[in-house]
């Protein structure tokens, strides 16, 4: 009996199995929860731990198979073209599992504190992660759509998890409706591409495009171009690139912070992974990558718009969480710059994107986690004012927050610095100077609002009589913060090892 296929798919299987088990566990822990507006302990603690363990196991399996080498496993291609289990997928499985696990740990602290302690949070989180992993591995437009929906449906529910808050519910509904439209647009695009090429698998699409281009000259049927554009639009919605970002601030703000973290980290990474794979493997033909009639100008334009608009708006937010939402949009813009660079410098640019997403995952989890730590129920830290004087009242939380914000701002010696640097280097290599200059200028802009948090924490005293945000204490949150801090620091100080890894993970551009 050949177990290799199982091994190759084991990260997915482990997560799926863990999710099922957790659902059973959640069902059993339901007792006496019906009337639980009293202060019962709730199931969160154990479930959070279980979720984190499941996802970390998924990450460990990903890493393990990475070291074995997926190409050494005989059956690793058994699921192609639906799922492609290569190093690229494994890398993203790892990132997504880590992001999901850290979010689960944050939830373990946050949900009980804010009386949102309901078990379904965790299965939703796990299945969304599973969807994200499928998305990152999808090698066919259909499985791509399935992964996308598996991921998104869970996230819609997570976004609306704060049921008592009308704002949260409204944001979730808007997110759902906009997301459905985006998914429909993606499907349209896929249908047109199928119509134009007769294939739904990425490799087949690529081959069809190449042969068409060879027989008919460089001209592409308009149908194909429209299809490509629509697919990109659908995915751009998920990475919340401007102008498809309108859902982001509301949904991020309305969702419970751990769910926000998950959206910012996993949803975005998975969408970028699939965007990368689709662009490289399906639309990577020279006929589609020219500036005259191809997708690069679309992406470049989106990158410029995303960086600039997001940073300008982020500067004026009064809510820190909203600021972080816009900041995550801005980071999508930076990654888009890397995507544009993939046309010319291929592997380097891909590696830079992957490194960026890893670093971004760690920093973002940290920043949101620190924000969670800074406030407890009844006195949640929301605005900048709430953070006044935190440096004195809770030096550890303030320091953690500062650290992650500095990483997001791209200050050495954190991961953020190297990731940004790497993207810039790739873009320079591809000679996209305008993009580089705009990226750097935007980093300047972003420093303003990140440092503003530091100014408030360390240099302001709370207004007399103002309600003070009381930092909460939670082992889960602290663990998540420590893990991400280690990751941020290690990536920042010893990036070489990880750079080698992402270089190996890059898709071979054919």
């Amino acid at each position: 009996m050949n177990l290799d296929p199982f091994l190759a798919a084991s990260p997915l299987l482990v997560v799926a199995l863990g999710g099922c088990l957790l659902m059973v566990a959640e069902a059993f822990s339901k007792h006496g929860r019906e009337e639980n507006d009293s202060r019962s302990a709730g199931p969160s603690g154990d479930l959070a731990l279980g979720t984190a363990i499941t996802l970390i196991t998924g990450a460990i399996f990903s890493a393990g198979i990475w070291f074995v080498g997926p190409d050494k496993l005989e059956g690793s291609r058994a699921l192609e073209p639906y799922l492609i289990l290569d190093r690229f997928s494994l890398f993203f499985s790892f990132v997504l599992c880590v992001g999901g696990a850290l979010s689960a740990l944050l939830a373990g602290g946050y949900l009980p504190e804010h009386k949102l302690d309901r078990g379904e949070f965790y299965p939703l989180l796990i299945f969304s992660t599973l969807g994200a992993m499928m998305l990152a591995a999808a090698g066919d437009l259909l499985s791509l759509f399935l992964g996308l929906e598996t991921m998104s449906l869970g996230v819609y529910a997570l976004a609306g998890f704060r049921r008592a808050s009308p704002r949260s519910t409204e944001a979730a509904l808007k997110y759902f409706l906009l997301g459905s439209f985006a998914a429909a647009i993606l499907l349209y695009g896929g249908a047109l591409i199928y119509g134009a090429t007769g294939h739904t698998d990425l490799a087949g699409i690529r081959a069809a495009i190449t042969s068409t281009a060879a027989t008919e000259g460089a001209a592409n049927p308009a149908v194909l171009l429209i299809g490509v554009a629509l697919v990109i639009v659908g995915l751009a919605f998920k990475v919340s690139a401007v102008p498809f970002h309108m859902w982001t601030p509301d949904a991020y703000e309305g969702a419970p912070t751990p769910a926000t973290t998950f959206m910012a980290v996993a949803v975005k990474s998975a969408a970028f992974a699939t965007l990368l794979r689709v662009l490289v493997e399906a639309f990577g033909d020279p006929a589609l990558t020219s500036w005259a009639s191809g997708w690069p100008p679309l992406l470049a334009f989106m990158a410029l718009l995303t960086m600039t608009v997001a940073n300008l708006i982020a500067g004026r937010q009064e809510s820190v969480k909203r600021m972080l939402a816009y900041s995550s949009i801005a980071h999508a813009g930076y990654v888009l710059v890397g995507l544009v660079a993939t046309i010319k410098v291929g592997g380097d640019a891909q590696a830079s994107i992957m490194f960026y997403l890893l670093a971004y995952t760690a920093s973002t989890v940290g920043a949101f986690g620190a924000l969670i730590l800074c406030g407890s129920r009844g006195a949640e830290a929301v605005s900048y004012e709430d953070l006044s004087g935190l440096g004195r009242r809770h030096p550890a939380a303030a320091m953690a927050f500062s650290f992650f914000l500095l990483s997001l701002a791209g200050t050495p010696p954190t991961a953020g610095f190297f990731s940004k640097f790497y993207i810039i280097k790739a873009a320079l290599g591809a000679e996209h100077y305008v993009l580089v200059v705009v990226l750097v200028l935007n980093s300047v802009l972003s420093a303003y609002y990140y440092l503003r948090v530091l100014v408030f924490m360390y240099m302001r005293e709370p207004a007399p009589g103002a309600p003070l945000a009381r930092p909460m204490r939670s082992g889960y949150v602290t663990t998540a913060l420590v893990l991400s801090a280690v990751l941020v620091l290690v990536l920042g100080v010893f990036p070489s090892t990880y750079l080698e890894i992402v270089a190996q993970a890059a898709l071979a551009s054919r």
Binding site: M1, L124, F127, L142, T169, M246, I313, L499
Partner: protein, 972 residues
Amino acid sequence: MILVLLVLLPFLGAVATALVSRGGRDACAVTAGVATAVALGLLGALAPGVVAGEVVQASVGWVPALGLQASFFVDALGLTLAGLILGVGLLVVVYARYYLAAADPPGRFYAFLLLFQGAMLGVALSSNVLLLLVFWELTSLSSFLLIGYWRHLPEARRGARMALTVTGAGGLSLLAGLLLLGHSAGTYELPVLLQRREAIQGSPLYLPALLLILGGCFTKSAQFPFHFWLPQAMAAPTPVSAYLHSATMVKAGIFLLARLWPVLAGTEAWFLIVTTTGLVTMLVGAVSALFEDDLKGLLARSTISQLGLLTMLFGLGTRMGAVVGVFHLVNHALFKAALFMNAGIVDHEAGTRDVKGLGGLGSLMPVAATVAVVASAAMAGVPPLNGFLSKEMMLEEAAHTRLLGQAWLVPVVVTVGATLSVAYALRYVVRVYFGARRGEALASGQGAGAHHDSCAPPEASRGPEAGRGGGAAAPHDPPLGMGAPSVLLGALALVVGLFPETLAGPLVRAASAAVIGGAPPGFTLALWHGFTPALGMSVVALVGGAGVLAVHGGAEKVWRRLGVPDPAGWFEAGLGAAVKGSRKLTLAIHDGSLQRGLALLVGTAVMVGFVGFGGAKHTAGERPPMPVEMLTVLAWVLLVTATGAAVVMHRRRYLPLLFMGVVSMIMALAFIFLSAPDLALTQVSVDVVTILLLLLALNLLPQQSPPETTRRRRVRDAVLALLGGVGMGSAAWAVMTRERKTLADYYWTHAKPEGGGTNVVNVILVDFRGFDTFGEIVVLGTAALAIFALLETANRGEAGRRLAQWKPGRPLSPERYPLILIAVTRLLLPFAIVTALFMFLRGHDHPGGGFVAGLVVAIAVLMQYLASGFDWADRRVRPDHHALIGWGVLVAALTGLGALVFGRPFLTSAFWHPRLPFVGEIALSTAMVFDAGVTLAVVGAVMLALAQLASASKRAKQWAEKRERGEHGGAP
């Protein structure tokens, strides 16, 4: 390795200082002092070799993958700056020990100071451009911490923020510039990069790189028009100003100009930009220094002027200019640090820094006065001090420089600048130490405050002497430790002036050789060069300076009346405007409106589609369309009418539902017409389930939705919808009129032999693309879970409360559960189940299959709920819906994995065709088990949604009953 240790020492010292901070000022100062002194010693050990022309290098692997390593090198230029950093640093450490008040936390101060020191050393000694950049940013950051050291002073926070914003922004500009530079040179290692002059200056990137790099240098070194942050930074404690704002940080920009001189200088662009900026800065700084009343502000503005002079020197691009630049860099550090410390002492003793409130301190503080006289004289360029030497050489160099084709321009401007610098230097000494004592004026409360600029608060407000009661005691010379550093610096200024060739000659020669990257021109440092034009200009400057001070009173009145523009204010205003602009942008783009968001999404998609359409070949294909029949026309008309009606009547919620039903029925018919009975079957059953569930949900909502759209929005939406529809329609037309290969043939030929079924659709679903189907049921399960989670909302919280107020919108039928309906549904149930079974079994060969079977079962059960009510039905339905979904997914997954066990790809099916009595031959395959999983999942998902909806209404009913009881029975 000594080099690496040297750079690390301050950082280690910073940690150590922070650790001993409980030990008080002495412990901190000693720790910091020892770290600095050891570093200085190490540097001293390297010095002889370096001055002799040796270059010491060291490197540690950092990020080899990116071609990055932490490499350091020290040549004479680096040595000069490093020497200043550590030498002045040591003196500042001593000085600060006495300057800081007991209440100021010493650990933080010294830790920040050493952090800054380390960053600055890194800038001086980094061999890798990017490493240099890292340290460069660190200096900005640590200076931010130091300037804002007195956190309680709003001016300190403002000054710190402004300094950080300006220099930080400059640093990023530098980052971009250096990246471009490294890109065009092909290396990021300075020693190599500096050899590639031709490659860099020949590159088209030269000009952008130059501009960006200059942006970094000019912000750091406070050059016009970025100079405004330096006076604002005077809110820092005086030791910080003495260190950062005279000797080191502001020199970083100049240092980088010198460092990159070999590759950047010598072009027209460099000469014009750098020289002009330097000259303008020199004048702007000097003039504003004349009218600045705050002692430290005066020194800051004079520093700006002197930095302008240095910039100008390097901008000339001549080798002699570089020599003078290096020499003056050192000289300025010596006398300006002495002056800053002196200003701190005056503040410390007299309790104010306001020039107008001071005077006649010379007799009370003879030592301080002597230092001030010597250092000011050096600043003014009076022989025989070091400042005279370098200024003389500068004038000589300027005397034969043509700018903009004018031979007179540079000499005149430089002479004016020199004159002004004499005037402000004189002003400092004369107004503070000579003349009448005006300390009393301060005591009576007139001096301070009235003449203050916006910047630089008197530290007396909570200065180091807060505990001592301000100016109660008469000012006197400071304690030894506080006085000695400035005495030492003043003495150095004098001795270098007297014996320049012996003391400074070798270093200046070596350092300028390092700047130039070749042999320096022959020169001797001496006081007397004979009667040269420079000497004449010096004399003019000295006499003129005294003259300017004489008419200062009148000039000041004119100055105040002129109302000089305040760049710092502009900066703040600019920041404010940016904030305001971004607010406007936010409101314009993101007002939280769903409709706007959707319009943007769809609009962009349409636009992108049309752009793609326009950029390519777009003709319809040649495939002839199918003949149009009467029946299809009728269907089209129905379809369009129903769709349009649904849109128009969308506010009345039940009607659109009916129209949607019409739409989907026509779709089903179309499927049948196009020979896809499977799809039709699925379409119909899905539609039934959806409409039933929607009806249940709508029951809980108001009958009508309020009108919310405006006419403009409706028009916009209509246009968008038409554009999108037409666009998609034409794209679809283009696809379908094209002859093309489809996948259909493949499936036709392979369905029976490989999938064991003749119903191709079903075989595709459960076999060929079974993986997708598997994914789909996972999606379905997740969707059910999401519905569960979201509908729970309706039962709790805000929405739950509103639901509690719910009343049926119109009269209900008196017969809640009509008997006929009940009877019919009961009768239908077994039939439905048999039908489902039938559909399921024949699925592989004929229309049907697990999905449809699941839906049929679900419909049958749904009907029971509708007819008999939730409670009745729920008691009779055993399985848990969650479990149903879970089992479904699990069964499907296990079947799929089963194939893997036998070494076949995921979901490969095994099949055989037994004959059953009465039914005939049926196709049994493992795919059928898979199909069963699908069925279970579908039933579970539908039932879960139903249960949630029903429980919402049940809860509402309970609430209503409770309310009624409450109304009748009084409050419990």
